[in-house]
């Protein structure tokens, strides 16, 4: 059995291990702390805008994230319901302890997965430039066929709280050192990023009667197809608001924020900004919403969503106490910012294997992303591709028109990232056809073909797929009278008619799941728009098929702009489409490139 070592047991690591095990290889997770498997280090939620799409896709590909989230859900909600179905995204508040416990149990039960406690500080390479071993801090050298690094924020991690700084991977956990240096030694470029987390509050120091209740949805559909009929919990979260006094306190102490005092070299995310960032950037807003979220059932520890900060502890406390509900609040631990090494992913192929060293894969936050879901998606794909390669199969690549995961990885390997990358629906040009409810239809058969899907899951999939087809067929074939004779599906094209309005005319629909009805209805409503979207993107697709020769010499095209040339030499895109997505490559240079490649491909004799 081929051995694949995974450095890290976080969300990326566990998905990778499970995929590898399914593909008939041995997965060895090397983690610094056996009890930290699948730990949720920041917010107690899985999913959210665009991230919910990722979770659905992970589930459709046989990953564990959605399934585990369902089992530990405290509340489930579809976000963005006012904005069009392609951007509806499920999000679950989850019990962090339950989540991690369940995943850990699954990993431990799997005969093809082994967990070793230790820290990988280096790796060995054979003469053909392939990974041959991982070297641990205690001096052990573990032989392996492939290595997947999923180190999260641990590589040379540095925590900042106000002007205090100390080395750590997460609060209370040691950082990892050595790996960055061995990657550098092998000519990898390394960058620095930062991210933050809010303070945790002591539950019984909060005056809950002064906070507004935020409920989840009633009878929501779980993430995983396997959990289809599961009844999810609906425990409340609470909303409070910041105020002028709070803003003033933070404003007066900006020089003490690690972020603002210039102490942090890494670049922070624009989209998940710290509270001090928000106050400076949106100075006209008098108030920002904060969410008080329990981290587990009957949790004493409360997460303050929206209050990520690197202010000194004292100031965090003073600021929070200006809010009525938090007048007497106590911190369990302060918010903090963490700085860590990341490896720019233009050094990876679309299989997430490195271009420099064979059988070395990188996945998760080390690639510059933020979020559990982004990490899990990459871990899954790296695991799948490492397993496939070791069993002599072609790589499993998802295209941008197939999945958000395809968009995510393509973006990572072509975009120059200068802040942690978060998934957004706007990143997907095929957004209308990448709805979260169609993840199974898009991906499950593909995943099943390479052995990633369990029998139970496949059965569920076939059931729902048949249901959807039945509904569509009936709507196509039934003629209804509404002023004039027309097929039933045409009525649905009206924005204001829903499938529920018609279902009294179709007795057979009573036995069909609400998910299948929803998907069939939305497919019909979106069909015309999806066609238009497809046509538009066809142009891009043509470029997708135009590959760039490995030895293509950009320096010879004198007419390319300097910036474009530099970026192209740096990234070395595999196709013209990838080239067109590289930040800083001008559009006009792309048409040049197309023609130059055509010329390049003309054999010399005919010139």
């Amino acid at each position: 059995m081929k051995k694949i070592i995974i450095a890290g047991g976080g969300h990326a690591g566990v998905e990778a291990a499970l995929a590898i095990a399914k593909l008939g290889c041995k997965a060895i997770i090397v983690t610094m702390d056996k009890t930290a498997i699948a730990r949720m280090s920041c917010n107690p939620a899985i999913g959210g805008l665009a991230k919910g799409h990722l979770v659905k896709e992970i589930d459709a590909l046989g990953g564990i994230m959605g399934y585990a989230a369902d089992l530990s859900t405290l509340q489930h909600k579809i976000l963005n319901k006012s904005k069009g179905r392609a951007v509806w995204s499920p999000r679950a508040q989850v019990d962090k302890i339950e989540y991690s416990k369940f995943v850990s149990k699954t990993i431990n039960k799997n005969p093809n997965i082994k967990i070793i406690e230790g820290e990988i500080i280096d790796f060995g390479i054979n003469t053909s430039n392939e990974i041959k071993s991982a070297i641990l801090r205690n001096g052990d050298e573990l032989q392996c066929n492939a290595l997947i690094i999923t180190a999260g924020t641990f590589l040379n991690g540095l925590i900042h709280i106000g002007n205090k700084t100390f080395s750590a991977g997460r609060m209370g956990e040691k950082p990892a050192s050595g790996l960055t240096e061995s990657l550098k030694k092998n000519n990898f470029k390394v960058g620095r990023l930062k991210t933050g987390t809010p303070p945790r509050l002591l539950s019984n120091s909060i005056n809950w009667t002064l906070a507004k209740i935020a409920e989840g949805d009633n009878n929501p559909n779980p993430f995983s197809l396997l959990n289809n009929n599961m009844k999810l919990k609906n425990e409340p979260c609470y909303i409070i608001n910041t105020n002028k006094n709070l803003h003033k306190i933070l404003n007066n102490n900006l020089d003490k924020s690690a972020m603002f005092s210039g102490k942090i070299k890494g670049v922070g995310p624009r989209y998940c900004p710290s509270i001090e960032d928000k106050i400076v950037r949106f100075e006209n807003r008098e108030s920002h919403q904060l969410f008080l979220e329990p981290e587990w059932t009957d949790s004493k520890q409360i997460y303050v969503n929206g209050f990520s900060t690197s202010m000194p502890k004292r100031i965090q406390l003073d600021a929070l106490r200006t809010i009525d509900a938090l007048k007497n609040v106590e911190l369990i631990r302060p918010g903090y910012a963490i700085e860590y090494d990341y490896i720019p992913s233009s050094q990876l192929k679309s299989s997430l294997e490195s271009k420099i060293i064979k059988n070395l894969y990188l996945a998760g936050q080390i690639n510059g992303t933020s979020g559990y879901e982004e990490a899990a998606a990459q871990g899954l794909m790296a695991g799948i591709n490492a397993g496939l390669k070791q069993t002599n199969n072609p790589p499993f690549i998802l295209k941008r028109n197939e999945a958000y995961i395809g968009v995510l990885i393509d973006d990572l390997i072509t975009k120059i990232i200068n802040e942690p990358y978060r998934m957004f629906t706007s990143r997907a040009e095929y957004r209308l056809s990448l709805r979260s409810d169609t993840a199974y239809l898009r991906l499950t058969e593909k995943a099943n073909a390479i052995g990633l899907i369990s029998k139970d899951f496949m059965q569920q999939f076939i059931t729902i797929k048949n249901e959807i087809n039945t509904v569509k067929k009936e709507l196509d074939n039934t003629i209804l009278y509404n002023n004039k004779k027309q097929p039933a599906y045409q009525l649905l094209l009206n924005n204001f008619v829903t499938i529920n309005d018609l279902s009294n005319k179709f007795s057979s629909f009573q036995h069909i799941s609400s998910q299948a009805l929803f998907t069939a209805e939305t497919d019909i409503k979106y069909k015309g728009y999806v066609e238009i979207e497809k046509k538009r993107v066809q142009k891009i697709k043509n470029m997708e098929n135009q590959s760039i020769p490995d030895d293509f010499d950009y320096s010879k095209i004198i007419s390319l702009s300097n910036e474009s040339r530099q970026k192209l030499i740096q990234v070395r895109p595999e196709t013209v489409a990838q080239a067109s997505r590289i930040d800083g490559v001008r559009a006009s240079d792309i048409s040049l490139l197309c023609i130059k490649i055509k010329q390049y491909n003309v054999p010399r004799e005919t010139l």
């Binding site: 904005k83 179905r85 392609a86 979207e533």
Partner: protein, 446 residues
């Protein structure tokens, strides 16, 4: 057609025919050895005119003595090395020089190939290429002036302006799709609708200007109509100033329509003399009458001639043209210029009323085709017009969607389509067939 080759290419850059000089343009990589061979001269200064002798392929006989200018890459029209040979005019000398060049492996340039290379080397962009193409094909001084103005980036800037507006709205929409209700405040559909309507009216302005610009580019059609023997051909000849068609008293002399390009009051005009319109069973006549009616439909201005009642006769024909000038013809002895039905009295024979007809034409032209070429919206090619038409339709759809409260995801998708369209218009979206079709409308030598 294959533009994608690396050959040295050459072509006559001036109009073929009799002229004082002809210019042969050569473009390719590393042209100095070729230049030295054909001139037996060693040193050429970059971008300077040199007087030299051009020899035949055997380097023996003199083909011509002329001025040669050498442009070293990248500072040339195409961005490659370029040689311009200013040889003596006439077909034969230029042809001999070209034939001599072909023996060196130089290839005849395809239509537009020089500009295509200029485009490849970032010397011109797509809009400029289209402008050059129009410049070559345009027929009047007026349209030249217009086109040169366009060369000054105005089209590009205008399209960019529109596109920026769209991108701004799209940014708002995308931002709101990316964040949940709790995180940000949403913009109301109505305010997005207002911006869309604004963009729509701009695009509409462009489309409204198109008939006009096209007419000016290809000439405004002035059609002379009337029953046989009303004096159409005589008037036609009077206007163009010399006898071109046979004029006789026998009915139906002008069987086919005759067309002449001329400039009236700075406007390019196609003056068309048609066959007389009358009932006939003669097949030839039926065909030419059919043709006359087709001309009438494409007419921008009709001059309707009749000896007795031009207004009455014309009204029987259901003419759709908005600008009809009625003329009572053969009024050799009448001094009055205008009748009570506003028809003009003219006589081509004694030159009566022709000046007032001319004035009337000028007035119609300058009121109907008044145009500020520097500031008014202009599109220059059919491709651009097509794209604007498509954009207009999309904007209309978006308007309806916003009113119907269709999901913002769908609106955004259509907005992306819009920006794509304008990117395509600016040549940002590469499409080989589009590129080749643009360049193939060029003349050889450009």
């Amino acid at each position: 057609m294959n533009y994608n080759r690396k050959d040295i290419i050459a072509a006559l850059a001036t109009t073929p025919g009799i002229s004082a000089i002809s210019v042969i343009r050569i473009s390719g990589e590393n042209l100095m050895p070729l230049l030295q061979s054909i001139t037996k001269k060693k040193i050429f200064k970059n971008r300077y005119a040199s007087y030299c002798t051009i020899f035949d392929e055997k380097k023996k006989n003199i083909l011509d003595k002329c001025i040669v200018i050498y442009f070293a890459q990248p500072n040339s029209y195409t961005g490659e090395d370029v040689i311009e040979i200013n040889c003596h005019g006439g077909k034969i000398i230029a042809k001999k020089i070209l034939n001599m060049l072909y023996t060196y492996g130089v290839q005849p340039a395809l239509a537009g190939e020089f500009s295509y290379r200029a485009f490849l080397n970032n010397k011109i962009d797509l809009i400029e290429a289209e402008t050059i193409s129009s410049l070559i094909n345009s027929e009047s001084d007026y349209s030249h002036e217009m086109i040169i103005d366009n060369l000054n980036d105005s089209i590009r800037n205008n399209i960019l302006d529109i596109n920026n507006k769209i991108v701004n709205v799209l940014t708002i929409i995308e931002h709101e799709l990316d964040f949940s209700e709790d995180e940000i405040d949403y913009t109301a559909n109505e305010s997005i609708l207002l911006i869309i309507e604004d963009i729509l009216s701009t695009v509409n302005d462009y489309l409204n200007s198109q008939d006009l610009v096209k007419s000016i580019n290809s000439g405004i059609n002035i059609v002379i109509m009337g029953i046989p023997n009303a004096g159409k051909s005589r008037l036609f000849n009077k206007i163009i100033g010399y006898n071109r068609t046979i004029v006789s008293n026998q009915e139906g002399t002008t069987r086919d329509s005759v067309e002449m390009k001329l400039v009236i009051n700075q406007y390019p005009v196609n003056l068309i003399d048609t066959a007389g319109y009358f009932d006939s069973t003669d097949q030839i006549n039926i065909d030419s009458i059919k043709q006359t009616m087709e001309y009438a439909q494409s007419a921008d201005i009709i001059i309707y001639l009749d000896e007795d009642d031009p207004v009455g006769c014309a009204s029987k024909l259901n003419l759709t043209c908005d600008n009809i000038i009625f003329c009572k013809s053969k009024q050799d002895n009448i001094k009055k210029l205008v009748n009570t039905d506003f028809s003009l009295n003219i006589s081509s024979k004694v030159n009566h009323g022709i000046n007032s007809l001319y004035d009337k034409l000028s007035t119609v032209l300058s009121t109907q085709y008044q145009y500020d070429f520097k500031n008014d919206p202009i599109l220059i090619s059919d491709r651009q017009i097509l794209i604007f038409k498509e954009a207009y339709m999309l904007l209309e759809q978006i308007k309806i969607m916003l009113k119907d409260d269709v999901g913002m995801d769908i609106v955004a998708s259509h907005m992306h389509e819009l920006t794509n369209l304008f990117d395509e218009c600016l040549g940002k979206v590469s499409n080989d067939s589009v590129l080749e079709s643009i360049f193939s409308t060029f003349c050889v030598g450009k």
